[in-house]
């Protein structure tokens, strides 16, 4: 009798115990200091938001993030990947800038671990044919966005000013190839990333090219130099267009005199406005965690983290996670996200990706103006910062 009572008590105790979720460590190799710190920090915040929401919504699986700052340095990114692998992470998410993501994902591929990113758009990254490499955005998506905008504005000639860094040069050359057949005249001006005086280039554009639009495939510091030079020389153009890290609230706040009417790629308007419930949940969670509004870097970080964590859960359920099944699960991804539909092709690229274009408008607002079906406002065209 006593023995039966003991067994019954033990059984009841076992049933009443909470079910412990299986925890998976995910390595985050990201620049939190150095030249790419701003973008890296935004991405990391997005990844943390994705982990927070995933852990809340999943009783069976939990994600634990293990982060190492790569200091915007390729060599340190490689050692970060190796260090995180030694800690037993099941995959990597993160990275910013193609020249850093390249060696870091080489290292993860050698270790046989999945590397998921949204920070490197260089075409060479997917040409390597790695089965473990995945990214949600690419040069093609930026190119499509710019081509769409130029078509919608009816532009007939463009001067492309581009940095000789990998991603920016790739985008400029792809754009040149895409615009030529559409009858748009393109003049190319490469510049060394170390230069700070853009007046000689802008003067060539002003006196020789005489285009309708100046397009900048560059980074923040270059944008400031180019627009400043253009403000001094005042070429007779109708618009100044850039790509990443330009249509941001930070740029509007830091350079209020340079940004008016300038276009840049952006998934989000400012102030942030989400139409879908998922977007609103992301924004609320992000605001609760970091006490600020999300930007598009955080949005990319969120999406890549979300897709990876979901695939980890599916792979764990299927019992393939420790047998290299995570890459196969990721390849099955086919869903709408905050950056549009995501699927992965054989090279790990997302062929559906297309950026949107935002324009700095009055009152420090960023309005999504292209593509028209996604627009939150109308483009000011012609419109210049001077």
């Amino acid at each position: 009798m006593k023995q039966r009572l003991l067994w019954t008590t033990l059984a009841a105790a076992a049933l009443s115990l909470p079910t412990f979720a299986e925890e998976f460590a995910v390595g985050v190799q990201i620049p939190l200091t150095g030249a790419q710190a701003r973008a890296g920090t935004g991405m990391y915040e997005g990844i943390q938001t994705a982990a927070e929401l995933f852990n809340k919504g999943n009783a069976k699986h939990k994600i634990k993030l293990a982060v190492v700052d790569d200091e915007s340095n390729p060599a340190k990114a490689v050692s970060a990947v190796e260090k995180l692998a030694a800690q037993g992470v099941v995959a990597f998410v993160g990275g910013f800038a193609s020249n850093i993501i390249g060696p870091a994902s080489d290292a993860s591929n050698k270790l046989g671990l999945v590397y998921m990113t949204a920070g490197g758009v260089d075409n060479d990254l997917t040409r390597r044919g790695y089965k473990t490499f995945f990214r949600v955005n690419n040069t093609r998506g930026y190119e499509k966005a710019v081509v769409t905008l130029l078509g919608e504005l009816g532009v007939k000639s463009v001067s492309v000013v581009y940095s000789t860094k990998e991603a920016t040069a790739d985008l400029a050359k792809d754009l040149e190839a895409a615009l030529g057949p559409k009858g748009i005249k393109v003049s190319m001006h490469a510049f060394d990333p170390a230069i700070t005086d853009f007046k000689p280039i802008i003067n060539k554009i002003k006196l020789q090219d005489k285009p309708e639009v100046i397009f900048m495939s560059a980074y923040e510091n270059d944008y400031v130099g180019i627009i400043r030079a253009a403000k001094v020389l005042k070429p007779e153009v109708k618009a100044v267009i850039g790509v990443w890290s330009l249509a941001t609230a930070k740029m509007a706040k830091d350079f209020p005199d340079l940004m008016p009417n300038v276009y840049g790629t952006s998934m989000l308007p400012h102030p942030v406005e989400f139409k879908q419930a998922e977007g609103r949940l992301f924004a609320e969670t992000y605001k609760r965690l970091f006490n600020k509004e999300p930007d598009y870097q955080a949005q990319f970080g969120y999406v890549k983290g979300q897709l990876l964590f979901e695939a980890i859960a599916r792979s764990a359920d299927a019992g393939t996670l420790k047998k290299g099944g995570l890459a196969d699960e990721l390849r099955k991804t086919n869903r709408d996200t905050l950056i549009g539909r995501v699927t992965f092709d054989a090279s790990g690229d997302n062929p559906n990706f297309q950026q949107r274009i935002g324009q700095h408008q009055a009152g420090g607002k960023i309005v999504i103006v292209s593509p028209k079906n996604e627009a939150s406002g109308v483009a000011v065209f012609p419109g210049l910062p001077w």
Binding site: T33, G34, A35, Q36, A37, R38, S72, T164, H189, A190, F191, D192, A194, I195, T196, D197, K199, P200, I201, N203, K204, L207, Q208, E220, N221, V224, G225, R228, K231, V232, L233, K234, K250, D254, F255, P256, D257
Partner: protein, 290 residues
């Protein structure tokens, strides 16, 4: 085409002025102590961040930051000197490593304090376009060039005519002999580092007023300043100005006549060419021939 070339010459001239401001401090400390201060660019950058602080926190023009920038760069330069002066063995090589390490510390301190964001002046007045005939520039570039001319002239006069200036030249020329003549070499070297700090302070404000700053910029500034110092010929003040202007014009003409992608390469080719023809630099060789 003529208009393009004229604008390139003008832009190169103005850029050369700012380059001279950045390089002259390094040339001075190199000339006096035979020590290459590899933290010089970081000191210029630190001064530039002082201009950013004064503008963003106090809502004043970056030009109002000149005294603070000079004080901070002077303090930094004096610290470099005091540490380098403690090196007893193999000073040339060990001072390189020491000043390089100081540069890394300054870069990371800047990063910690002001983050990795880019900064530049928001002053409308400094960014305003100034037109001289068909030539354009920002007002800040013109100010930077004029400041450079004035400071280089003052430094030249100081070195030629003041007691301390002559002491610096004496220590630079023959340290032991200078000591026998009653000059305190340590004090003189410290003074040259302090003057280098003052100039770095001005260079930092000029840089912030006309360009974009970020924490990783310091090393590139040191490299450019070093190239100019060697190009000029060690110890030559007018040589620094001439080399800076030559470099600025070469870069601008390269962009105009060829491509901006090879601008830095053109600067390095000029450097190699001058050293090949005149191994002591532009003015070093002239003096030796004389």
């Amino acid at each position: 085409m003529a208009e393009l070339i004229l604008q390139a010459l003008y832009s190169g001239l103005l850029n050369g002025g700012v380059y001279a401001l950045m390089a002259i401090g390094l040339a001075l400390s190199f000339g006096t102590m035979r020590v290459i201060n590899l933290a010089h660019g970081e000191l210029v950058l630190l001064a530039a961040y002082m201009a950013y602080v004064v503008e963003s926190r106090l809502d004043l023009s970056p030009l109002a930051a000149i005294p603070l920038a000079m004080a901070v760069a002077c303090a930094g330069s004096a610290l470099v000197y005091l540490l380098v002066a403690r090196i007893r063995k193999n000073r040339e090589l060990n001072s390189l490593m020491l000043s390089f390490a100081i540069g890394i510390i300054i870069t990371n301190a800047v990063l910690l304090i002001w983050s990795g964001d880019i900064h530049s002046t928001g002053s409308v007045s400094l960014q305003e376009a100034v037109q001289l005939g068909s030539l354009y520039s920002m007002r800040s570039e013109l100010y930077g060039f004029l400041a450079s001319l004035v400071l280089v002239t003052l430094l030249w006069q100081w070195l030629a005519k003041s007691w301390y200036g002559r002491a610096v030249r004496a220590v630079s020329s023959q340290r032991d002999a200078a000591k026998l003549m009653g000059i305190n070499p340590a004090k003189t070297e410290l003074i040259s580092f302090l003057v280098a700090g003052l100039l770095a302070g001005c260079a930092g404000v000029a840089l912030y007023s006309s360009s974009v700053i970020q924490p990783s910029l310091g090393h590139a500034l040191t490299v450019k300043a070093f190239i100019i110092t060697v190009l000029a010929g060690v110890g030559s003040v007018p040589g620094v100005l001439a080399a800076s202007v030559l470099l600025g014009i070469t870069e601008a003409l390269t962009v105009t006549l060829w491509s901006s992608a090879v601008q830095e390469l053109a600067g390095m080719l000029l450097f190699l060419l001058v050293l090949f023809v005149l191994p002591n630099g532009l003015f070093g060789a002239a003096r030796r021939r004389a």
